[in-house]
Symmetry: C2
Subunit: 384 residues, 2 copies
């Protein structure tokens, strides 16, 4: 279903020859209206890829009528030529999509940083994709944006007469301030730009922004939400926002579940924090601790590494009041040895760490992955 679950959208995914192995690498998503409202959230990395710089400008215009996405190259750190290439991509799309202008066409790219895209293949690919646009093209589009993803990722939520659908890619370089991910969400609800923007920011803050696979922040992260208004229904904001968050949460979990080389999904819940910011800071510190990530991989309930990670933060807590549970067993009580660590069963893919700061009423959940030899292998050979 993906981005074509909602009415008013067509999509396509094709092999343009950007990837040398011939796999699909170019996706096109078109909003056929009547409305072309849009919102976007982009990487907070200060080194931004050309398509991010371009799409941020497009979003300022308030309307997005189509998105061109490519895998096989990030077009990041590619200088003025890289930006010209993104511009040419939007112009080409405007040319093959009658009635659209380049200034309404967002572009997203993913792949290796620091390499120019093969425009002699990409530009003809846009024409080819336009010819294949279909209200059933959502799955093909989701497949075409994969890089090291082992599966394509889609999600759908429905309201009373309206739908939110989406697709995502991302399997490495996943970290807050957005994961290396490209996400396109579509809806046929009749929602204006400000309504989309609020729903999207509220959703990403507690979903994609709380995924931390490997602590690395990308140059290309892009999450777009496009509304066609084709259902003719304007839902209550909260109802709509819930649906957007549901789809984002679903896709974020799929990203963690497909993280490069991971064998465990780690759900880190920080409770009794003095503030939500404290909870998130502690959760991220735990999520990024390589020693702990290795221990989880080895099914070792090494809670000392959790405390060690908490101790590096500025959050409010007293060391001798900290409690830590792993899969429900409180292995650390009052900053010291708690229940028998032998009671912890870590055979399953999902591992739950609860860190109790005993400092207040706030909480947050961060999702992470273990660190494995497979992660090292995938990422030491990626560009070669």
């Amino acid at each position: 279903m993906s981005v074509t679950a909602a009415q008013g959208f067509t999509a396509a995914g094709i092999a343009a020859g950007i990837k040398e192995n011939g796999n699909p690498d170019l996706a096109l998503v078109v909003n056929n209206g009547p409305r072309h409202a849009a919102a976007g959230v982009f990487t907070s990395n200060r080194v931004k890829a050309a398509p991010v710089l371009w799409s941020e400008q497009v979003l300022k215009g308030g309307e997005v009528s189509a998105v061109v996405l490519n895998s096989g190259g990030a077009n990041a750190c590619t200088g003025p030529k890289g930006f010209q290439d993104t511009h040419a991509t939007a112009e080409k799309a405007a040319q093959v999509l009658p009635g659209h202008s380049a200034g309404e066409i967002a572009v997203a790219s993913t792949g290796l940083i620091g390499v120019l895209l093969p425009m002699d293949r990409l530009l003809p690919g846009i024409g080819k994709a336009a010819a294949e646009l279909s209200p059933y093209g959502g799955e093909k589009a989701a497949i075409a944006i994969k890089t090291t993803d082992t599966v394509h990722k889609t999600a759908v939520a429905t309201g009373d007469g309206w739908t939110v659908g989406g697709m995502a890619k991302g399997a490495g370089m996943l970290a807050p301030g957005l994961a290396t991910m490209l996400v396109v969400l579509t809806t046929d609800a009749d929602v204006d730009g400000p309504g989309l923007d609020k729903a999207l920011r509220d959703a990403t803050r507690v979903t994609f922004d709380r995924v931390d696979s490997d602590g690395c922040m990308s140059t290309n992260d892009t999450v777009l939400l496009l509304a066609s208004g084709a259902s003719g229904v304007t839902p209550a904001h909260d109802e709509f926002a819930d649906a957007v968050r549901t789809v984002c949460d679903d896709l974020a979990r799929q990203l963690i579940g497909d993280a490069e080389g991971a064998s465990k999904d780690i759900r880190i819940e920080v409770v009794n924090a003095a503030s939500e910011d404290d909870a998130v800071e502690v959760g991220r510190s735990i999520a990024r601790n390589n020693l702990l990530k290795c221990a989880i991989h080895g099914e070792d309930p090494n809670w000392g590494r959790v405390l060690s990670a908490i101790g590096t933060t500025r959050a409010a807590f007293e060391p001798d009041r900290l409690n830590v549970a792993i899969n429900g067993v409180w292995v650390c009580r009052d900053g010291s040895v708690g229940e028998d660590r032998e009671l912890v069963d870590m055979r399953y893919r999902e591992v739950r760490i609860t860190a109790d700061l005993a400092a207040g009423p706030e909480s947050a959940v961060i999702w992470a992955n273990d660190l494995t030899a497979d992660y090292v292998h995938e990422n030491s050979a990626y560009s070669s």
Copy 2:
């Protein structure tokens, strides 16, 4: 030579049975005076092991006459009982070292967090170590503090009639704000406490604090500098400080060279930064980027990952003015593709990354390691 290179010191290293494999696990370093001046630097982790809390108190008294160090257990996150055990360790040492009081005896521990030490073995071990104290015992002491270290680490620098010597352990959990390391430095120079403190802090700030093997900060880091005054020489402060820094730098490089599972030592030099703080922040961000660390392991000059790491910092820079060299080849110029990456030769263990922020006159060097499957293996099985 180690901690007994300087006059006035004796040391021993023995197997007390703390480690189940029977390897040496207890070291004793004694300052026989005439002076017992000392300075110490400890972990900045807010979760501090019992021996750190104890030794911080001892240092406040201004005199340290002996140090008991054990491997085989960190005595961290062990609650009131853990602190009592550290206290008992110092009391036992005072008992077997006539003329010394427990309040002058520092304690340092390393090993697994969250496990109580086997005091029934440790305490008799102190008596055994005291019986073996020798002015030639420095090497044995250095061997007894090893955990996953593959080699013991010692260094010496000499002045005109005086000497600074030292030993270190540490092979993982190496990060700024001190690595997981135990370091004891000794000198026969006649220097008072404030002089030692200044020399030690100035040295650690640019040596141990700029080592970042895996971004993980320990609960037990301890660096002690003891002065016996036995040479009768009081060197000029700068001369003495140079010697201390030389020994710290030597030991810090040995730590990086022996980091768990590492196949590459990565020297990250950040140049043309607006401030030294900016240079250090950028250097650490690069040092902690798992994707880059994997790429270095794969001998892949993936400079995009360097830019991506720089982009997550608050340092002053413009993305399109960044330059990056890997082993002397400027693969990134003005934030974009520079010299041919095929020119980069990464066959050797040392890899040099230069990040030019083009924002000012300051610089800093951070040392890190690559991320390897061996690191994952060592750390996923450490406690089991």
